[in-house]
């Protein structure tokens, strides 16, 4: 009799559990999120009525879910933020579980967020997980007359093939467009890093330099705030601190002028 009760308990515990994992390297499960970037951008809209574009840049959220809780609480308390951009390395190991755990916390943001691919996210089967859960590796969106160009600069993960960052794609995004007065680039690896394709630095910088209304290029990767300019260029490149260092950037574009500040939380 005792045995049958235990057997029953045993069966119930099996079928009530959601943790049936097939592999740490599986790229989806029945509960995993899909197309987060696209659905958040749909929620964001085009900001055509918004004359103040206010957004947050954070990055390197890997292994930092506890800090992400503090982050979304802080961001939710800042008035009139339009959206949040996560500049890559959302995971340490490129796994489905890590991307899911991060999204679970970021979904508590009251404003929409988008993520950009980082080098760690391209390890393991991260590329496939990222594409399904978040979206494309190179994409852009327009908000309040500003074009935000999110792209993959993780050259080392492609053995410095010369195709990443994808300069022709960037050039196409930077073409003049009706209703767009400014451009902002966001990517993970900054062009001063050893992990950025050395052969492409000049063309990369030139693409930005030659674009009227190009404001700034945001990055992550080094985990420390830094602002720099490349030779013969006036374009500011700005690296945000890692999520784990409890600091992010709050940027504002008013009347084609950009300003930003570092905010600790």
């Amino acid at each position: 009799m005792k045995a049958s009760y235990l057997l029953l308990f045993f069966c119930i515990s099996i079928f009530s559990c959601k943790n049936l994992e097939y592999s740490p390297s599986q790229i989806l499960d029945k509960d995993s999120y899909k197309n987060i970037n696209a659905s958040n951008l749909e929620r964001l809209g085009d900001g055509s009525q918004d004359d103040t574009v206010r957004f947050i840049v954070t990055g390197d959220t890997q292994r930092s879910y506890d800090e992400t809780i503090k982050f979304y609480r802080k961001v939710n308390s800042i008035p009139e933020v339009d959206f949040v951009i996560v500049a890559g390395d959302v995971t340490e190991f490129g796994t489905l579980k890590e991307m899911q755990w991060l999204a679970r916390e970021l979904n508590n943001l009251t404003v929409p967020y988008v993520t950009v691919i980082g080098n760690h996210d391209l390890t393991m089967r991260g590329r496939d997980v990222f594409k399904r859960m978040y979206g494309e590796l190179n994409y852009s969106f327009n908000y309040g007359g500003v074009k935000f160009i999110c792209h993959d600069t993780n050259s080392r993960e492609y053995q410095f093939s010369g195709n990443v960052p994808n300069i022709p794609w960037l050039r196409k995004q930077l073409q003049p467009e009706v209703g767009i007065s400014n451009y902002v680039a966001i990517s993970h690896v900054p062009p001063i890093s050893d992990d950025f394709d050395e052969k492409l630095v000049k063309d990369y910088a030139a693409a930005f330099d030659e674009t009227p209304g190009f404001l700034i290029s945001f990055h992550g990767h080094t985990h420390n705030f830094e602002e720099f300019k490349l030779d013969n260029s006036n374009i500011p490149y700005v690296i945000t601190s890692a999520m784990g260092k409890r600091e992010f950037l709050l940027a504002e574009i008013i009347n084609t002028k950009l300003s930003f500040e570092q905010i600790s939380f």
Binding site: L20, L96, E98
Partner: protein, 201 residues
């Protein structure tokens, strides 16, 4: 001369047959003590394997599994797993049922998938750039098992007992994530479930 060669080959053949017989007896330990079928548990959507009872007191398990995850379940991938577990506790539930309530274990899984190599290529990355193996995963596990004796009338099946088990496991990736995020992650986030049947010969 030919006669001599014939003699020698005959003796060699005889000796070979003799050793082959003792060799075969020595290889008896290779015959598994159990056949295993498992669902999930991080080593395949389904996996099948051979199990051995080890240690003198037969309280240890050594299992070899092959698992498969089809594309629509997040694969496609193949995995080979070697598991080691110990059953320190045994509770007799009835004449025909036993419970092994808590069996800690350790296992290694190797995943075969084109994006997963044994290690990151040293020509592509500086030393220590990425510090883990993509394909080889160490896991910690604990399981429980209910063991049912088969009625004697079923003897023809060649199965003595059936073990039904649930196994929870975690791996190096999840442990690293958990240790730094104990308020946002719970143990139920990092421990993954597998269920299985062990047919004991």
């Amino acid at each position: 001369m030919n006669k001599f060669l014939f003699k020698v080959s005959f003796i060699i053949l005889f000796l070979f047959l003799g050793t082959a017989k003792t060799f075969a007896q020595k290889l008896k330990f290779l015959i598994p003590d159990a056949g295993i079928v498992q669902h999930a548990g991080s080593i395949g959507y389904f996996s099948v394997g051979a199990g051995y009872e080890i240690f003198k007191n037969k309280k240890g398990y050594l299992d070899f599994n092959y698992g498969y995850v089809p594309a629509f379940k997040g694969g496609e991938l193949h995995a080979v797993t070697v598991k080691l577990a110990y059953k320190p506790f045994e509770i007799k539930l009835s004449d025909w049922a036993k419970l092994y309530p808590f069996n800690p274990g350790f296992f290694l899984s190797y995943t075969f998938q084109e994006d997963l190599a044994y290690k990151f290529h040293s020509s592509e990355y500086p030393r220590g750039y990425y510090y883990w193996s993509p394909a080889l995963r160490p896991h910690l596990s604990f399981s429980n098992e209910i063991e049912l004796s088969i009625p004697e009338s079923w003897d023809g099946l060649g199965i003595n007992k059936i073990g039904l088990y649930t196994e929870f496991n975690t791996n190096d990736f999840y442990i690293v994530n958990y240790l730094q995020n104990t308020s946002s992650l719970s143990l139920s986030d990092i421990f993954q479930l597998g269920i299985g049947v062990r047919l004991k010969f």
